[in-house]
Amino acid sequence: MLEKLVMTVLGLLLIVLVNWYFFFSKRRLTSAQIRQTGIQEVKITVKGGYDPDVIVVKKGIPVRLNFYRDETADCSDTVVFGDFNVRKPLLAFQTTSVEFTPEKEGEYVFTCGMGMLRGKLIVR
């Protein structure tokens, strides 16, 4: 009986932990740097995910996200910004730039081709 209780408590704790880690833990924000050319740029390394994965940009200024894909794993071979109608193939071990100008404040999710890897673009 005791072992059942222990197992139940452990299992429930694990469920809470899993959900906290993936959904609610605090993520680091990275702000885009505004270059002299008037473009805000961020370099993002793609390897099993996006690093950094939460990016803060300013409204109305052209954004250039430089994705460096540091792997050949199929999963990350495309990056999709659904709200901006961008779907770009990322070549392995190459930097691919995604450019657009966010006109509205808000949070925009970007994902891999299948929506598994996720990052967020916060427009302020």
């Binding site: 299992g11 694990l14 890897l117």
Partner: protein, 887 residues
Amino acid sequence: MAKDLVCGMDVNEREAAGTSTYRDKTYYFCSAACKKKFDEHPEVYIKSDEGDSEEDEEGESAPEETQGRGEKKESEQKLERMDLPIVGMSCASCASTIQRSLGSLKGVAKANVNFATSKATVLFEPQLVKPEDFISSVKKSGYEVGIASLEIPIQGIECASCVQKIEKALLLTSGVINASVNLAMGKAKVEYLPAETSFVEIKKSIESTGYKVLEIGPKGEIEDVERVVREREYRKLKMKFLLGAILGLLIFLGSTRNWFPWVPSFLSNFYVLWALATPVQFWIGWQFYKGAWGAFKHRNADMNTLIAVGTSAAYLYSVTATLFPFFFKKGGVRPEVYFDTSALIIVLILLGRLLEARAKGQTSEAIKKLMGLQAKTARVIRNGIEQDIPMEEVLVGDLVLVRPGEKIPVDGVVKEGKSAVDESMITGESIPVKKEPKDEVIGATINKTGSFKFQATKVGKDTALAQIIKLVQDAQGSKAPIQRLADVISGYFVPIVISIAIATFIIWFNFGPSPALTFALLNFVAVMIIACPCALGLATPTAVMVGTGKGAEKGILIKGGESLETAHKLDTIVFDKTGTLTKGEPEVTDIVTTNSFAEDDILKYTASAERASEHPLGEAIIKRAREKKLELQDPKEFMAIEGHGIEARVDGRSILLGNKKMMKKREVDVSGLEAKAEELAGDGKTPIYVSLGGEAAGLIAVADTLKENSVQAVRRLKELKLEVIMLTGDNRKTAEAIARKAGIERVLAEVLPEDKVHEIKSLQSGGRRVAMVGDGINDAPALAQADIGIAIGSGTDVAMEASDITLIKGDLRGVVSAIELSKRTIRVIKQNLFWAFFYNTAGIPIAAGVLYPIFGILLNPIFASAAMAFSSVSVVSNSLRLRRTKL
């Protein structure tokens, strides 16, 4: 503090052991020896000094670099001149905006922007201002500078210092805006102004540093590198799969010896099974761990996580049972191993990935095909000299020579020569198109028969092909609204599945039958394995990609997933008349003669008379005469009477051509022809009376006729249960005559161009979903208002903003094809989503064991993995079926 250029020491100016003045500049030295060395070869040290200062200053803040450039020019006062091609200027006032902005830069002596040539000419002091500043100034004014970009493979770059050396040399080349050398790739990426420098110059400057430039390969070279890597990985995956399959089979036989009594008994030894399963788990299955860890670090969870955790659970349980069987016995459980489960799951999923990789590669084939169409080089004639140059260097205005069998490199207008061109790759039209001077040619099409010269009108990213590629890429990147739910789900899917799996474990452990631990474990693994959201994620994008790609192959450009989805719901389709249903240019339809004249004679005389006129109706008559190979003469005493017609003398005979008023004015009796003329007018044609030598000779009827395939297209649209409506500014009589021929019952005639939008709106307010078919320029507002705007294109004008669907060629059957394609694509998406949802929503509870209490059904984790592996393959294959669609 100054720097001793010879030894590099810092020297206090006042305490220097020696000074030298070279080119008006004073240099300080720490010792007489250094001064002596400097005096012998000052340029050596100055050069390296310039180098050093640039090395320190990278990127944006490099004022020294400019200074270096200035010194190199030997004069601080001398102005440099630079031409910048400007992109996006649409009016003369844009030119003055740019000019003001450039002129206000510090160091710019004079800036002049020419709207006609789209060029900015800047006179500047190189030490005060850099070309980069011009570019950002132009950009700030809202325009772009036409910068060309090249990737140049260089042989033998081995160290970081080589990189700097080459970059420096490139940046010193005038006209080069930006240069960066990638050591790993062995390539330099150069951005330059094509008007200022060329590939040859750039190549020279690289080779001056002692490195060799390799031949520039085809544009898709990077993709090729990727492909090579991919293929290598594919082979590796295949090899791993085969090895895994052998090991998996042995493990399977060993674990199920009671089914196969002939299997040697040692195979079912736990330790042997362990030994066989370990390489499968950690070598063949390593990619799952790697992927899972990568995702975990980013607080992501993907299918790798599920597989890694699921198989590890089975594997570790089995290892424990092998090493500590007494622990299980003590708890009253028979120690069992599940090495077959962990190993076979991995092998099956690898198989799924192999198949999926192959299928997925095919979904983007259309765009690869389009990219592969691009020509690599062009033969241009500059200053009378023929030269082969890379595609990227062709400028607007260049005269390009094309020989039979060659690809036309860019868009342009034929200047000299005749040929037939195969345009099937762009327009889908299979019959070669004749080209004569003044005809447009499209880049990437193939010249068949003759040589000709043409002037480039669109290059680089403005060519039709580049626009098509961009349109298709954008379309493939867009999302169909139908996908939204799937997107939301797949984002939360994996952590939730893990939670369900843990809950399954707890429930089976607490309430399940004995052996509870075994059941709990197996069901935990089954839930983890079956729940791959891959199929869900692939359902829509693969179908949209294949669908839009298929369309592009046939000259149908679809803006995106949303357009596809709306197009399949249409119920009304409105056609513009002129130029859409009809050819848009009048032609001779009937020739009526009075008894005394032959048809060809009438045609010959009227056509000869019309040679002096510029009326479009006259052109139609001349065209018909030419088709009949009639010999035409120059008319004499030609006179045009406005609103009436023309009169002239040909071959000594007086000719009158025109309407009834004209005939009345010249007192020609046409009473015998009037009935026929009215009949022709009733058919929507324009009858022209002809009189020869003061006698009524006949009638020539001219009309804008239907395109060959309009009737067929309308019929097929009706078969698709769409109501077809014609919209035109023409008078009702003419409009109805044409509509009758096209098979259209409903006509909205006498609609002013600006009222077309209202007509569409009023149809929509009646609850209809309306498509409007028209040309992209005059009908743009109506196209934008319609639920689906279908623009009929011609030639190189593919960038049609207002439309959702663009047909590259004017054939209206494309409208039918586009609607059919959208219907099929949406059907495939729905099938995919159904299977994916069904699979995941039904699969998880079954794997968790909900059917067990009633039916005693449990899902073996091995079956779960097989099902999962094939679910994504089946979704992708289903999408690929669209490729075989006949349009």
